[in-house]
């Protein structure tokens, strides 16, 4: 299976094909509804973001609390379509990839194609299995949001399927 690393550079993204299975290693950032609202507000107000979006990978996930070892018990993907209204502004800021579950809007798909980004799928409802591929985690921003905060994760061989590739082809037709 193809192994890929973060930051996920354009030269790597454009080689990924819809339906392809990949293993991702490196740093990824969690962000779901409230964090997206805050990130896009920061961009609109031209403020500094908590992490560099260029070639970065965002994971749509709100993990269970950290356990004694500092790692999450369960950390799977949430439904991506809820982020669709915020995604275009992030893609225009050179976001490299998103990890989630389910379909995206046509507008997001078109922008993925235009910006040569990629949308990756993780297995929904397998949070315990996926959490074991996370090697370290720390809260990065919006701590008050609890499970909706932005966490910085180091993942090793995180199993994913290419949902929408950089030419705009979707695995869901």
């Amino acid at each position: 299976m193809k192994k890929i690393k973060t930051p996920l550079m354009k030269s790597v993204r454009t080689k990924l094909r819809c339906g392809q299975e990949v293993l991702l290693s490196g740093t990824i950032y969690t962000a779901r509804d409230e964090a997206h609202k805050k990130l896009t507000e920061l961009i609109r107000r031209k403020k500094k973001l908590p992490f560099d979006l260029k070639d970065a990978v965002i994971y749509y996930s709100g993990p269970t609390p950290m356990r004694r070892n500092g790692l999450f018990g369960s950390c799977g993907p949430t439904t991506s379509s809820r982020m669709d209204k915020f995604t275009p502004i992030l893609l225009k800021e050179s976001l490299g990839a998103m990890i989630g579950k389910g379909r995206r809007s046509n507008r997001v798909r078109d922008l993925i194609k235009r910006e040569k980004a990629v949308y990756l799928l993780a297995i929904g409802g397998a949070g315990a299995y996926l959490a074991k591929r996370i090697k370290s985690s720390s809260v990065l921003a919006f701590k008050k949001l609890g499970p909706e905060a932005i966490y910085k994760l180091e993942v090793k061989d995180f199993p994913l399927v290419v949902g929408i590739d950089s030419s705009g082809r979707s695995v869901y037709k």
Partner: protein, 280 residues
């Protein structure tokens, strides 16, 4: 009168919250195993295998099956010969939820107001349904309901002259719309009849029954089988990436209704639909 202290209820609710979130229901585990044997799509087989592995890891390492540990619905069947002592029933249930979610390191997913959206930090309040029945026992069932699937649930007020065919086509529409988004293969809880609200509550309650238990009513059993067959023809499959396994089980509950209506509610459940019960 048999006395039951509400502190006992708190303790049981706390344990059930952890149990439901960590242990995949036996009937569902068996259904995934059965689907794996029948499934011919390579990717679907591999995903179903991972779902079983996920269940093993969750149980073995006391991890939540899914990070969305849900909004907790609690069903309490109270025997009419039971006298509750030691405090307030609803408060004891919510303090049980709070304790379970803290002890089990489960996610707190409840916001105080749907508009103001401030997390309560305790995963309470829960949604409590009480029912007074015969006897001197008390049965508690806890359903932590994830919202990926809850968001795809729907209700339709059909006309009384519509029937099975229209019910099936409505349900197929609901499942198609859920598509890959709500963690297929699904468990469908269906409520027929009653009123607008009764049909919805029946649909949720239907998710509690084991999917391998036959419906006692023959006409509902037939409809459950027909729905399961049709839904599995959709080809959505695990993760929505294709295959024969789109639905693991269908449970229907019905209630008498008005001459002018036929309410149909579908509560979509994901492949780790959770519930746990105990009798005190």
């Amino acid at each position: 009168m048999r006395k039951i202290n509400v502190n006992k209820i708190k303790k049981v609710v706390s344990e059930l919250c952890i149990e439901a979130n960590v242990n995949l229901r036996r009937d569902i585990y068996k259904a995934i195993l059965k689907a794996l044997k029948k499934e011919t799509n390579r990717r679907a087989r591999s995903i179903l295998g991972i779902l079983l592995e996920n269940a093993g890891i969750a149980r073995g390492e006391s991890r939540a099956l899914c990070q969305d540990t849900g909004l907790v619905c609690v069903y309490v069947r109270i025997g009419q010969d039971v006298k509750l002592v030691g405090g307030d029933l609803k408060k004891s249930i919510d303090s049980g939820v709070k304790e379970g979610y803290k002890k089990g390191a489960l996610r707190k997913s409840v916001v105080k107001s749907p508009l103001l959206r401030v997390n309560t930090g305790t995963n309470t309040p829960s949604i409590i349904y009480t029912d007074i029945v015969k006897g001197n026992k008390l049965k508690i069932t806890v359903i932590p309901k994830g919202f990926g699937s809850e968001n795809k649930s729907k209700l339709e007020m059909l006309n009384p002259t519509q029937g099975e065919k229209d019910i099936i086509s409505f349900i197929l529409e609901v499942v198609k719309e859920a598509g890959p988004d709500a963690c297929p293969p699904y468990i469908l809880g269906i409520g027929l009849g009653g009123t607008f609200d009764k049909a919805s509550s029946l649909a949720k309650k239907a998710l509690i029954s084991p999917i391998d238990r036959q419906n006692a009513k023959k006409h509902l059993r037939k409809l459950e089988d027909a729905i399961l067959k049709e839904v599995n023809k959709l080809g959505i499959g695990p993760m929505g990436l294709g295959g024969k396994t789109t639905c693991l089980g269908v449970n229907i509950l019905e209630y008498p209704t008005h001459i002018a209506g036929l309410p149909v509610a579908v509560n979509v459940g994901c492949h780790i639909t959770r519930s746990a019960s105990r009798v005190i």
